[in-house]
Symmetry: D2
Subunit: 354 residues, 4 copies
């Protein structure tokens, strides 16, 4: 399971195995990694609200190799967490009656019935733990080069919060959003977004949303042609995160309804003599290459497919139509927990391009 | 410039060199390639309307090696077209006064002043000629396996035409759209879309749009985890196409505002005993893997950045703010011509996953 | 309760009184009214699906005066239906703990505690019965003048169906939509729209939507200045229908993001020598006056506020925060039933302007 | 030309007559009107930017009767301004070749060729001068009752600025927006919105937008049933303003895609013991009646139809297709100037309901 050229990731374990972790190659020798900071980053994906999964995991990072005394050894970094509250047996019936909009049916067809679906197996949101460990390391390496990445919730269900789709992002505002329990730019949107989440929770339903991400400090020229374009590199990694169904850069889909006379980002010298653009509709990217402006993009997450209401599905053994009901408490909105995963996968993409 | 694992592409030449072409590795030995069909496919990206670039090119494909008598030899396929109407000198001034929302500034900073910007160099829409040659070959290989790919215009500016965002795509309708001069599903939208394009043209402006694409016949299980997910593979390739700023699968960004109780795609057996979903909001992809339904996605193209009105930019030599005016006739809407490029890059992504 | 200048309406009764009806003044003498057709029109607002209110009413129209042998007498038309399945007592508690997004709180504050909230009182969707009776009469009068009005569902929740927002409406398609059990232009959208409704129903929730309406055959010049503009007259009446939160004409809100070079509707002579516009972005209205093209508009309905889940509210006696749960089966999507009400109120508006 | 029940308006003059003014009945006796404040309000609709009409008018209000020493006399208020820079003859050709999306064709058909089209006649944006005079008086009367109305630009073209669609409006922020040269809530949006306007101006085109309006301090219970609903009363007046194509209250069209579990506005007692709702998705209106929350709505303006590019039209004398070019400098975005007109017409609607 190779992710990329320079930084290679390999995931081991799954949602309902004893442990889940990641092997990271390519970080190099002598890099300083602050493990407390890494733990704090991974902890950002924990449940902080009643609406998310009640499965409680300590998610204490165990470094097995590759980092000693906070310095990389040059060998593979192997890091993991223990899965403390898993129940494998629950998932067997989904091999026969696959859950709608889960990977069950596609995975069984691809890998056969021996495939472990427990907790979504490799398709679980729990896979974002190892991704966040690897990405948290990448974020620290980037920060040492003056590159910062911040993400936040921009939309929950129909509720659109503050966005930097049309305006220039404020670094302080972006970088402090991630530290909030409910990471948004403008706290005035917490209540209506919470209403969307609570509305879903009360009705046994789930709701999705949009995460916006900004990369500050990326050198002009980062990126390249064709599939080494910044957009290709970032989108490829972002679509690795479960439940992502769309990625758009800068003003994105709305840019395609604007005329160029308004959409084009004009160049000027700012007061410090730096070349900047007055608007940032292209999200800091021209021709696949960074133009020195903040790189901005938005990521669409679908609603969590596990809901407690009865749904139609097939019985793959009886070859009949039937229904399935998914018991247990479900994460009725995983968007707040997906925010660090977006930062993590972006960091790995950027590190690979530098 | 390697594109991918199995099929490797290398582009040579640029917009304003004598020729532009592609080296394709990995196609294998003994595959039948219909060169007339390939030429017809590449011809779909030609100007058919007054609103597109007046640069006329015959774009006759010259196979230099790798295909003999319509059969692949197993060696690298080298194919090219001649550039007949280029004027290199015109572009020198853009090294000093970079065009807004073009790659000029980022490319010069990255590659230095020796970099050839002519006609956008490697960043030109003309790069879609070799991409269409390579993709046209991939499309033929896929078709031999029962896989068909069709794309069409779904939006021009603000005008939303028919889409399969919410409904199941009709194969005949999709596959015949591409053969139209103005490739849309419902011809009732040709007039209002043309008004958007003519409005832009009359005012010296440009307008973008959205292309929707459907893959029929993809086997259940195609795709994989993390960056080998179908979404990762397709998005990586699609963002290689100049001017793409967003990609969304299935219902995409709108899916993130739906509740799972409506958004989830329920499974049923159809009348032929095949497992299908009643809706296709996930665009045929669950957990990064094809679930057997048509794979659907939409691609956002920004308006062509070359417009004839004066725009603000910097003078990189004088280090002052100035303006730039881009002479010549411009392609005021390249979306119709981008349709085959979307099919081409999708075909290469799919071929790499099989 | 006077509705307008020429045609005056007065509603009597309410949702949970013995009967509910309407007094219509101004229709004039000697007009032919087909009572079977009128009954059939009113029946279009009945529940046809399990998702709507289970309250069954025969809604047999009783003409008390004003129409004899199918001819108007020139006096007031008094028409009513009986309420067969009402339970008044259920509603008393809502005077103390008002239901969120219902009129309870505002009405009690305005009218005092003696106000009858039963079944929403005058605010109930049941008020659309007398509106449909009056509007059904207006529709027949208009049809005799060659004016036809057709409405249909254009969106349910997030699912956008076919619309004539950008294209010229086809009269046959519009006028036949209303006769369908589920009135949409393109039946391909029935399934995804039903999924939105069923998703809401299964979770004890409700969902709103958008109705689109087209008026064919309106003479050039209909309308006037200021509040006698076509838009004023129609919107005033449409906002009389419970739960309407928005009205837009032609391309509406999207028109405001277009440039005039594409948005303006150009005039041409058609093959019959009639002046028409090539597009209809203004919805047949220029300067408040009909330009001879079909008049098009869309109406936004909020989700039905009665849902079975517990909601926060106040106790107006104890002056404390509390919760309220609304028992009984609710209409989880009233949009299909609102379609004839849109036609009815439009007909009355048009009749007043002629 | 009667506008309403209590307050009656009659406009005299037109865009290109010697003067344009308004007769206001129903204001009553002994009301204090601050004429300087009234002048300042009317001045808010003046051109403040190069992008609006270059026609310069002093628009000095002349009170002819009804107000003496700043006190209403109880008689009709007659107020007017002089038209200083009009050229009537220019408009004659539009009787033969009507301008696309102007009222020319509909008005000539309705009123005959004798109708004065000069400057749009009664259909001109200049009609907002008398509307602002009448509305400015209404605003002062409302303010004396503790009711304040503030409007601001929420969108220009595709650029969405800050809105109170989902969050509770801050009175200070709203009421200070109107005093800005470019009235928006968040000044960060001035630049991208200006780019939309300048883009339109540079290309001889025009662009529309959306104005958002908030009414603070309206008593619970204001409004009524059917066409005396708050929504009916406001929308009827707002659609009197030229170029308005849509009105939505609260969360509006987006509300119709939300589920009630999130959309419903729950009641609580605030810290002062007042009943409030936690969200305001219904825009302060339940069942057509104010629930005590701020009343919010948005108004869609189409792009100004007068543009300098050649457009297709008909020759009504020759009965042939032809083209028309509209000379002179045009108002390429009237949205900033429409803001006070929205406040004015809202004030008159509210005053009529009290």
């Amino acid at each position: 399971m190779l992710l990329d050229d320079r930084i290679k990731l390999r995931i081991f374990g799954s949602s309902h195995s004893e442990e889940i972790g990641v092997v990271v190659e390519g970080v190099g020798f002598g890099e300083t990694i602050d493990l407390d900071k890494l733990q704090a980053f991974v902890d950002r994906r924990k449940s902080k609200f009643g609406f998310t999964t009640p499965r409680k995991e300590s998610d204490k990072i165990i470094i097995e190799s590759g980092i000693e005394n906070g310095i990389t050894t040059g060998g593979e970094i192997v890091a993991k967490v223990l899965n403390e509250n898993f129940r494998r047996a629950d998932y067997d019936k989904f091999k026969v009656t696959p859950r709608p909009s889960h990977a069950d049916y596609a995975a069984i067809t691809k890998y056969g019935k021996g495939h472990d679906l427990s907790g979504g197996g490799r398709f679980s949101g729990r896979i974002t733990v190892p991704l966040c460990i690897a990405g948290g390391i990448a974020l620290q390496l980037l920060e040492q080069k003056g590159i910062k990445i911040g993400a936040y919730i921009q939309r929950i269900g129909s509720v659109e919060g503050k966005s930097y789709r049309f305006t220039l992002p404020c670094e302080d505002e972006v970088m402090s959003a991630g530290k909030k329990d409910f990471p948004v730019l403008d706290d005035g949107y917490v209540l209506p977004m919470m209403r969307e989440i609570e509305g879903a929770k009360k009705t046994g339903d789930s709701v999705g949303g949009v995460v916006e991400c900004v990369v500050f400090g990326l050198p002009v020229g980062t990126g390249g042609e064709l599939t080494s374009s910044l957009e290709s590199a970032i989108s490829k990694n972002i679509f690795s995160i479960p439940a992502v169904k769309g990625v758009e850069f800068g003003t994105g889909f709305l840019l395609s309804s604007m005329r160029a006379s308004a959409a084009n980002d004009e160049f000027i010298y700012d007061e410090t003599g730096k070349v900047v653009t007055t608007t940032n509709n292209n999200g800091g990217i021209n021709g696949g290459i960074c133009n020195g402006m903040p790189v901005t993009f938005r990521v669409a997450f679908k609603p969590a497919p596990s809901i407690s209401i009865e749904q139609r599905t097939v019985d793959l053994e009886a070859k009949t139509n039937t229904t399935v009901t998914i018991k247990g408490n479900h994460d009725c909105c995983f968007v707040p927990r997906a925010v660090p995963a977006v930062e993590a996968m972006t960091a790995i993409a950027i590190l690979n391009l530098l």
